[in-house]
């Protein structure tokens, strides 16, 4: 039963990932990605990590994907360019990807002695919100603090790169336009 569910889930995950990179419409790609996040969340649930699964749904499939779709719709950027800029890039990428998968597959199937299985943790409440919270604010206190610095930098950067001092976004866009025109005239 579990195996059958796992196989169905695996097919959905890989299929939606392929859909994300192959669809020519950005909105479809984003929806495929949301599906991918949801099915990965189910995988986490299978592994006995309900908290992580819920975070995956609320944070990734929820807020981040909504933001993605919002931005795509707002900019009207749903049509992706049909042609590729680098010629032959897709063919090369597919060929190299297949080679990589083939090598990995050979190693994992034929050289089984190299692929020992790491025993997963067996504590009953492993992955519970309580345990994760305790780990985050004891053992991983430093990484949490660094992440907060990262978010600060990201905020400062976003403000800095989009807004000038005392100038509105429209003024900035105008300046860029003028600059582009001047560049073209040269």
């Amino acid at each position: 039963m579990t195996t059958a569910l796992y196989i169905i889930l695996a097919v959905v995950i890989v299929g939606s990932a392929l859909g994300t990179i192959m669809s020519r419409n950005a909105v479809y790609a984003a929806l495929y990605l949301a599906l991918n996040f949801m099915s990965v969340a189910l995988l986490y649930l299978f592994l006995g990590a309900p908290f992580i699964a819920l975070v995956q749904v609320t944070v990734y499939a929820g807020s981040i994907m909504v933001l993605f779709i919002f931005v795509i719709m707002l900019l009207g950027a749903e049509r992706l360019a049909a042609s590729e800029n680098l010629r032959g890039q897709r063919f090369l990428a597919i060929a190299l990807g297949v080679v990589l998968l083939a090598i990995l597959g050979t190693v994992f199937i034929s050289r089984a002695e190299l692929t020992g299985i790491v025993t997963p943790p067996t504590a009953v409440d492993f992955g519970s919100p309580r345990q994760i919270g305790t780990a985050l604010y004891t053992q991983y206190w430093l990484p949490v603090m660094i992440t907060s610095m990262l978010l600060l930098v990201a905020t400062v950067g976003a403000i800095l790169l989009t807004r000038g001092e005392g100038t509105s976004i429209r003024d900035n866009l105008k300046r860029v336009d003028e600059k582009e025109q001047a560049d073209q005239e040269e």
Binding site: L150, L160, L161, V176
Partner: protein, 481 residues
């Protein structure tokens, strides 16, 4: 978390805290007085440098063993902090002159340095990844600081997109290593590998992904494509800072992770490292020959330097040679840092509005009109080439000799030959400066001048006592293990 933990990484805590304070204080500093922000940041760096030196190189662990402070961290931290001071000295006048002045530049620089310092402390792959992000994110922003310049925008976007891709690969590598062993801390990984209980195939794949990610950050061929465009497009002081900081931090991560964790994979990794070092040296030096823009020239030169640095890495699993070769690498990093900052200081004085004054041809007459700047630039070009009486010579000498010691004579030979090739384009700058007539306009600024002349003096001065510098580097390495 206890007070002891914080005390162990006190310099980092002070630096990160100070950067936030400066970021806030900057809001009250009037627009035409941004020199105060620069000065505040510089004071912070000096204090942190003092704290770092006062703590010394005693080995201490903190935060459940996820960070480790030792002589290796001390050596690199001094490079980063002094580099930060040089970065501020180079930026202040330039930003004002180019009408890019925004107070946030300096706190961002401080945060980038905290990321680099964290990288030297990292004893856990999670910390390695976060440090990588903490140092990269401010650099992406700094690359796009000239917002109304399309080249700068392109540089920031290119650096950000490719950089996040590389970070993704590193993170994937970390995840696979965790899957292979059940550990993210370096000692745990080492023990699993020794005990042979891990998943070898996943382990190798994870190590390869880490190598790719770090190669991107350090600009190793074939992951170097972003460098010329980003170096050219970013404001020059930001380029100077990233070419030293990001590279040194990338190599710090490589050293820490590979030398401690992956010696058992050396059969598989050594040929790859060999090939990467060889291609990087050849491609970087050959492509640099045809460059006319000095910023692009230094970008390709920087790629080539990565190849030399990586060369020290090839015998990393040979315990007898590895400490020597890594000391040689640390030595070379010092020479590279000083020379790079010096050379960029000259470039910054030469750069005019609208990106003029950046062609090699613009340097005509510099040697005669501004003898001190000309002399300094000559010293830097000679040091990059590796001509005797400069620090760069000893750097290459130690690198090549440890490569031979490790049994990689072919690699040392490639290094030697490409150095000869590099003489062509480095010396061309010198020839243009002295042999061609011209009167280049130079925007003198005392801080930038000071950086250039000080760097030149140290590059020549330390070349007379290479042994004692190497001893320092050797001590730094011995405490790595």
């Amino acid at each position: 978390m206890t007070i002891n933990d914080l005390n162990t990484i006190l310099p980092l805590v002070v630096l990160a805290g100070w950067s936030v304070v400066v970021l806030l204080a900057d809001l009250w500093i009037p627009k035409d007085r941004k020199g105060w922000t620069a000065a505040l940041s510089a004071v912070g760096l000096v204090v942190v440098l003092g704290l770092t030196l006062a703590r010394g190189g005693t080995v201490q662990k903190a935060f459940f063993g996820t960070v480790l402070v030792d002589g290796f961290a001390l050596y690199l931290d001094i490079i980063f902090l002094v580099g930060g001071l040089a970065g501020i000295a180079l930026a202040y006048d330039y930003l004002k002159r180019m009408e890019l002045e925004r107070g946030e530049y300096y706190p961002l620089l401080l945060i980038a340095i905290s990321g680099m310092m964290l990288m030297t402390y990292a004893n856990d792959l999670i910390i390695v990844f976060l440090a990588l992000e903490l140092l990269s994110l401010p650099l992406y922003i700094m690359a796009g600081f000239a917002r109304f310049n399309l080249q700068s925008e392109e540089a920031a976007l290119k650096y950000f997109l490719l950089g996040s891709f590389a970070s993704g690969l590193v993170l994937y590598g970390v995840a696979l290593l965790f899957g292979a062993s059940g550990h993210t801390d370096l000692p745990g990984l080492v023990n699993t590998m020794r005990a042979g209980t891990g998943n070898q195939a996943l382990f190798l794949f994870g190590a390869a992904l880490l190598l790719v990610g770090f190669s991107f950050k350090t600009g190793i061929v074939p992951f170097h494509m972003w460098m010329p465009d980003v170096y050219q497009g970013a404001p020059s002081p930001a380029t100077a800072f990233m070419s030293v900081g990001a590279k040194a931090a990338g190599f710090a991560a490589l050293m820490r992770v590979f030398v401690t964790v992956f010696p058992s994979l050396s059969d598989d990794l050594t040929p790859i490292l060999w090939a990467l070092a060889a291609i990087t040296m050849v491609v970087g030096n050959v492509l640099a020959i045809s460059q006319k823009n000095i910023k692009r020239l230094l970008a390709y030169s920087s790629i080539a330097q990565s190849g030399y640095l990586l060369m020290a890495f090839v015998p990393y699993a040979n315990a007898e040679v590895s400490s020597d070769s890594i000391a040689a690498m640390l030595f070379y990093l010092l020479a590279y840092t000083l020379t790079t900052f010096g050379a960029w200081a000259v470039i910054i004085q030469m750069e005019q509005q609208e990106r003029r004054g950046l062609e090699v041809a613009d340097y005509a007459g510099l040697g005669k009109r501004h003898p001190w700047l000309g002399l300094a630039m000559t010293i830097f070009m000679l040091s990059f080439t590796g001509v005797p009486l400069t620090l760069g010579f000893w750097g290459k000498f130690y690198l090549f000799s440890t490569a031979v010691e490790g049994g990689f004579v072919g690699l040392a030979l490639i290094g030697l030959l490409t150095s000869v090739v590099s003489a062509f384009y480095y010396l061309r700058v010198v020839v243009v400066m002295y042999m061609q007539p011209g009167d280049p306009p130079v925007k003198q600024n005392r801080w930038v001048n000071l950086t250039a002349l000080l760097a030149a003096a140290v590059v020549v001065g330390l070349a007379f006592i290479p042994g004692s510098v190497l001893d320092l580097a050797l001590q730094a390495v011995l405490q790595l293990q």
